[in-house]
Symmetry: C2
């Protein structure tokens, strides 16, 4: 069974898509064709969106579902003219919160996303630059690092650091364990003063060999034996040094990031 | 007025935080202290979360608000014991969707986030590696690029490319306009075959001079005159070449990304 979903928003549509995705994945056995219609913030765009949804209805013969975060009720009314099932994301929460907070909501279009706070923007950009300049052991002054991810090459350190920067404005450095570290089973001296900010990443050997093989086909670096040895040594080192560790094999970047922030006690807002 | 908000989830809490943030920013004049309690997936963790929320209630004397995406109703019941206002994110949507889709939802805990699809993970990692290796004109073979962002140094290209990679698995390269390009008002020959994938970024001169001054204090590169000249030339070049352009000064990375995807007609799911 297939159903067509439109995420319609007066902003980026990210909120609509996030909640829609979370809700729809709770329904098994249905394939969803999903489309984003962002920046629907005037009559003309609302009518264009309505036409697109109506056309999909006519073509598939099945009522589309609109996951809607448009704040202006007159635009929502235009969208409803498409005949789609309208799911209004904000509506159910506004009443109880107005009551609890004792104040009516304001109806600023685009307020939810797209509102730029320079301090926030600066934090994200600075943290991104930090991640790039402290990636893969390039810069080794960790004084400003809020966390330092440690692991063998291709264990997931770089994407996690970039995600931390873009989403939480957290300055995350990463340190790739060298053969020397792995043989000695010891962290390099310059990491030791930062022990409470260290977090280990590991990965299954089978998966690591695939990832490395894609990167450097036929290399010794990519062999299963080499991957197994490095990971076993890294695990010993993590245990000896008492570092918290996360296996990245079956874990999304979002989940890894969330676990590290919890473990290190870093309370930051998501952007 | 201050209110304490807890985002409680059996997964990362990202859905709870996204919807909560969107709804709460619609209420003016209230400061929210927000806390994440992720991975609440058993009784023990639910009781610990309940205690933390109850303690906050006792300390502040004001009822906390829980934005809840925990799927298991028995855990939600434990949380409700804290006395907080419970806002269940999924509840309002499940009924109408069960009716429309003709099937009950399944109650897989952690399904919404954290579920890892290798193909998805691979796409994100590959796109991130692509962005890093095609950043700042480093690699100049654009055959695989789904988009190429063009602009002067520090106009917002790199964070946008990384965001595209991490969120949409889109391979985005970026090309920093050189003095030579800006003097000749011409795109380099190697970009021309990819014209339908080019997108220009610009920024206000005042803002650019600040950003560059942070990076290279006292340099000619950071002077307002230099920034003004580069931006004016870049604007002429974008117009002459007919490129779509976005000013990044007052626009969040999310919004920039969403606009570029729309303009280039790239329909990708968010991860």
């Amino acid at each position: 069974m297939r159903r067509t979903i439109f995420y319609v928003s007066d902003g980026t549509g990210i909120t609509a898509e996030t909640i829609g995705h979370s809700v729809l994945t709770q329904f098994d056995g249905i394939d969803f064709d999903t489309f984003r219609i962002p920046f629907v913030d005037d009559d003309v765009k609302a009518r264009a969106a309505c036409l697109r949804i109506k056309t999909s209805y006519a073509q598939t013969g099945v009522r589309p579902i609109v996951i809607n975060t448009v704040v202006d009720p007159s635009l929502t009314e235009i969208l409803a003219g498409s005949g789609a099932l309208m799911v209004d994301v904000f509506a159910p929460f506004i009443g109880p919160l107005e009551l609890e907070l004792g104040t009516p909501r304001s109806r600023h279009v685009n307020k939810a996303h797209g509102l730029v706070n320079f301090a926030e923007y600066e934090a994200r950009i600075n943290a991104t630059n930090y991640a790039l300049s402290h990636d893969d052991g390039v810069a080794t002054n960790y004084a400003d690092a809020e966390m330092i991810l440690v692991g063998v090459s291709r264990s997931g350190k770089t994407p996690t650091c970039l995600y931390m920067a873009l989403h939480y404005g957290v300055k995350a450095a990463n340190y790739p364990l060298t053969d020397d570290d792995l043989e000695k089973l010891e962290l390099p001296a310059r990491l030791k003063p930062h022990r409470n900010r260290l977090y280990g990443l590991t990965i299954d050997a089978q998966r690591l060999t695939q990832v490395r093989e894609n990167r450097r086909p036929g290399s010794r670096y990519a062999t299963l034996d080499q991957c197994r040895w490095e990971l076993a040594q890294a695990d010993k080192l993590f245990r000896r040094e008492g570092l918290p560790v996360q296996n990245t094999t079956h874990t999304s970047i979002e989940e890894i990031a969330s676990k590290i922030l919890s473990a290190l006690g870093i309370e930051k807002h998501m952007f």
